[in-house]
């Protein structure tokens, strides 16, 4: 690690090792970009006649439903996220401290799990409708009850679990706002509510845009919820085109359009954020929260609790009840295998991600060339690309390679090699690497950026060599970031559904896949235990996030 320890300028790095470093960097970037490039290259493939069929029948549905989902979830997460952020950052009411933490809990609920849980709760035979019938003596058909398995239902489910993205970013933005600016607005004659809409909200706009964009990317990547609810969205369309029509190229072309759309969204977000970047006011005064009293305080507490109850407590409780009722049937060798599969897969993927992330982060630290930075940024794109798209982008080249290797081997050694890459754990881990590298990279990068180059220089001036600096200075400082990165990827992999569904080896099941399969077979109670396992593990990163994001006492309060 001689090179990696050098400071941001290139001093102390010989040109040969720098060349090797660069070659490695570009090599890794190209390999990581393969799925995306493959998908894009399919745009140049001939368009099969089934395109005409898609145009005439379902394509419009896919597009319109996905757009409707985006608009609905956009509005939903905006209202829930900004509202939660405002009330916990700027107001004081009973339960505020608990709620500022509890608002993050829905992050641990994958959308497909909350979707099937609510289906169980709200179904005709579910607890809610049954007790309504018992109380009022209604019969089937006597009353109207909204259908959860619908576009509107999907919007509600996704909004309930995705609003924390908006909440986290906007809350920080509110807390960082100079209180003097808000007070200035008051002395200029604006009431608190007007101050919120005219000053606080416009200033938080960059954070709002960033949070909602994240939620929208997750919405576009979602497969489990829309598939379970039978909503024809773009991701379900890709699955149907491929598995139903058997048209891999057409599916890949659909993937390409989806990806271009997502990337456009991302570029637009970055652009708008850059344009909106406000220069922060320097002075930070003690934040004075508006004390809510009487009915306002009660309303704040009740509304906040409702959000947390709907987004986390109720479904988690239902899962717990189902698991407890069914644990004898659920906990068997099969479940232990599921746990082992999921954990080992997540561990493999998160370690690979971490190693690569450290490599990229150090590469960014030493390099100043725009080309290299560009390469690193491309490697970090994966998170925006839906898992379905990445999976298709891997399966195509893997199959192509397998065919050629097999043909080559048959021709020369008269020995069929069969499938070497397709349907292996290697392909699956690679897919996770492409998709979740940026999660690890952002975390490691943030840690590494906190070590300013003058720290390296002062260590060097005290006689420490590169490897000594890495071991005695960087590692102790980075330890938390590295563990956080590991954990974040671990949980993401555990939750990820579509990628695993497409790329897993034959008969290889994970918690997420099994949950989805059982739920699709209407075996909701059997699905509860694997689902609950995912949710519980998903709580771990929230503990970490809570520490770093809600650490308001030292800075703000």
């Amino acid at each position: 690690m001689e090179i990696s320890a050098s400071s941001t300028n290139n001093r102390g790095v010989s040109w040969t090792s720098r060349l090797g470093w660069q070659a490695l960097l570009f090599g890794a970037t190209v390999v990581l970009a393969v799925p995306i490039l493959v998908i894009l290259s399919n745009l140049a493939q001939p368009y099969s006649p089934s395109w005409q069929h898609l145009f005439d029948t379902v394509l419009q549905d896919y597009v319109l439903n996905s757009l409707a989902l985006m608009i609905g979830v956009g509005i939903g997460t905006l209202i829930l996220g900004v509202g939660a952020a405002w009330v916990t950052a700027m107001c004081d009411f009973p339960g505020r401290k608990f709620l500022s933490w509890a608002f993050l809990l829905p992050l641990s609920m994958p959308a497909y799990i909350i979707a099937y849980t609510y289906t169980g709760i709200l179904d005709f035979s579910g607890p809610l409708q049954t007790s309504l019938r018992n109380i009022f003596g209604w019969q089937f058909g006597d009353y109207y009850f909204p259908e959860i398995r619908s576009l509107g239902g999907a919007i509600c489910m996704l909004s309930l679990v995705l609003y924390p993205y908006v909440y986290m970013l906007v809350r920080v933005a509110f807390l960082e706002q100079s209180t003097a600016v808000l007070e200035a607005s008051r002395t200029l004659g604006r009431k608190p509510l007007a101050t919120f809409f005219m000053v606080a909200l416009p200033l938080a706009r960059p954070a709002i845009v960033a949070g909602v964009s994240l939620a929208l990317m997750e919405t576009l990547a979602d497969y489990g919820t829309v598939a379970y609810f039978g909503v024809s969205a773009f991701t379900t369309g890709i699955f149907r085109t491929w598995y139903g029509l058997g048209e891999l190229t057409t599916a890949a072309q659909l993937c390409a359009f989806l990806m271009i759309f997502v990337l456009t969204l991302m570029v637009a977000e970055r652009w708008s954020r850059q344009r909106l970047r406000f220069h922060k006011n320097s002075a930070q005064k003690k934040l004075v929260r508006i004390k809510l009293r009487g009915w306002r305080a009660s309303l704040a507490t009740v509304l906040s609790l409702t959000v947390v109850l709907c987004g986390f407590a109720i479904p988690a409780f239902q899962l717990l009840v189902w698991s407890l009722n069914h644990w004898q049937q659920s906990i068997d060798n099969g479940f232990l295998t599921l746990l082992f599969n999921s954990f080992s897969l997540a561990a493999m993927a998160s370690i690979c991600c971490l190693v690569l992330a450290v490599f990229f982060a150090y590469a960014r630290r030493i390099s100043s060339s725009g080309l290299q930075i560009g390469a690193i940024n491309i490697a970090g794109l994966g998170y925006a690309v839906p898992g379905t798209v990445i999976a298709v982008g891997i399966i195509i080249p893997a199959a192509w390679l397998d065919n050629h290797i097999d043909a080559f081997s048959r021709a020369w050694f008269d020995y069929p090699t069969g499938l070497i890459l397709s349907g292996t754990l290697g392909a699956l881990v690679f897919a996770y690497l492409v998709r979740f590298l940026s999660v690890a990279l952002n975390t490691v990068d943030a840690g590494l950026n906190s070590i300013k180059s003058n720290i390296d220089e002062s260590a060097r001036s005290l006689g420490a060599s590169g490897s000594v600096i890495v071991r005695r200075v960087h590692l102790p400082i980075l330890k938390t970031s590295l563990l956080t990165a590991l954990l974040l990827v671990f949980v993401e992999v555990l939750k990820e559904l579509p990628t695993t569904l497409i790329l897993r080896p034959f008969n290889f099941n994970t918690l997420a896949v099994r949950t989805y399969e059982l739920a699709s077979d209407e075996r909701l109670m059997d699905a509860a235990l694997p689902a609950l396992s995912i949710v519980i593990i998903g709580l771990l990163p929230i503990m970490i996030i809570t520490k770093s994001i809600l650490n308001e006492r030292s800075n703000h309060a």
Binding site: E183, R186, T187, L188, H279, K280, N281
Partner: protein
């Protein structure tokens, strides 16, 4: 003269600490006041109470004859005719200069608003910068925008919270004088908060010196410097040393400091006094028999500021021309010129 601001017996409490205790202060129409004091003395708290951000726990605050804060109620900031310039200016970063100045002019018609904004831009000489955003302006320009924004709605009083502390030292004194001229010309009643006495002297007609949540003295800048009413005031304002000196019935001081005329002494004088000795009270005199050891000295350009030890070890400052350059450890011949000296009772 019309009493514009009345602070009567005002206390402000945070949970269990008292930030301001029984403060009294009045400002006449068009007067510029100043709350001066070390950090943590409660001056900003008092300003925020006037603005309506802090409730009072005793007394009342009234503006133009109307009670704004009493122990019973606190008018919210938005319904007081109070303009405020914040320490970091607190300009709205998402609005340009015109948007900032027009922010408080909601009650006006579009045309009147436009007119008023132009008037204010002219007042602070920023006609060319109306479409610029705060981060595109220099510190001095930002300060002027903050001033124009606060003055635009025609407040009954302008509050300035450390308005020059974000600017570099050179700009500070220049701007303080400019702002004073502008406020005087427009007959604005204003109250400034600062810890910097030069700023206070440059701006204010009347200074309230605060210490530990209490108003120690209210006076004109001149009187505050030359007639400090307390040891704290003597110590905080200007440079100088406070000496404990013995005195006999004839007015002869110990430590070879000479004598004081008995008429200048308080009636109930004990046998020691505390003397405030300013650097210009101790003059270099080549022929003097009083020679004091030099403990330290600092070069100020035109002057040297020496620190000298009296016989009993107490230190006195002495200002000399800078070409009187005598090394530390040697003796400096001086003459005490204690005609304007301020005397406090010993102990």
């Amino acid at each position: 003269m019309h009493r514009q601001l009345i602070i009567n017996d005002v206390s402000v409490k945070y949970e269990n600490t008292t930030a301001i205790a029984n403060a009294n202060f009045v400002l006449d129409q068009g007067e510029i006041g100043c709350l001066l004091g070390p950090s943590g003395c409660g001056k900003t708290t008092l300003l925020r109470a006037i603005a309506g951000f802090e409730p009072v726990s005793s007394g009342y605050i009234s503006l133009d004859g109307k009670n704004l804060s009493t122990t019973k109620f606190t008018d919210p900031p938005e319904s007081r005719a109070v303009g405020m310039v914040f320490q970091d200016f607190a300009l709205f970063p998402h609005l340009n200069v015109e948007g900032n100045i027009g922010f408080g002019l909601n009650a006006l018609s579009k045309q009147d608003k436009r007119h008023r904004i132009e008037e204010m831009l002219e007042l602070v000489s920023l006609q060319a910068e109306g479409h610029r955003f705060p981060h595109e302006l220099s510190g001095g320009q930002q300060q002027r925008v903050a001033l124009a924004r606060a003055l635009a709605p025609n407040p009954q009083i302008l509050l300035l919270d450390e308005p020059f502390s974000n600017l570099d030292a050179e700009l500070r004194t220049q701007l303080a004088a400019e702002v004073r001229t502008l406020l005087k010309k427009n007959k604005v009643t204003a109250l400034l908060v600062t810890h910097d006495q030069d700023e206070a002297f440059a701006m204010a007609d009347k200074i309230a010196l605060l210490n530990n949540g209490k108003i120690a003295q209210v006076d004109s800048p001149y009187k505050l410097y030359h007639k400090p009413a307390s040891l704290f005031a003597a110590d905080f304002i200007g440079k100088g040393a406070i000496l404990n000196v013995g005195i006999d019935a004839a007015g002869i001081l110990g430590n070879d400091l000479g004598s004081l005329s008995l008429s200048s002494l308080p009636e109930d004088m004990g046998n020691t006094v505390k003397l405030l000795v300013r650097p210009d009270d101790v003059a270099y005199d080549e022929g003097s028999d009083t020679k004091l050891e030099i403990i330290s000295k600092s070069f100020l350009g035109p002057n040297y500021l020496y620190e000298l030890a009296l016989n009993d070890g107490q230190l006195v400052p002495c200002l000399t021309h800078s070409h009187i350059d005598i090394p530390i450890g040697e003796k400096l011949p001086v003459r005490f010129d204690l005609r304007h000296v301020v005397i406090f009772n010993g102990d």
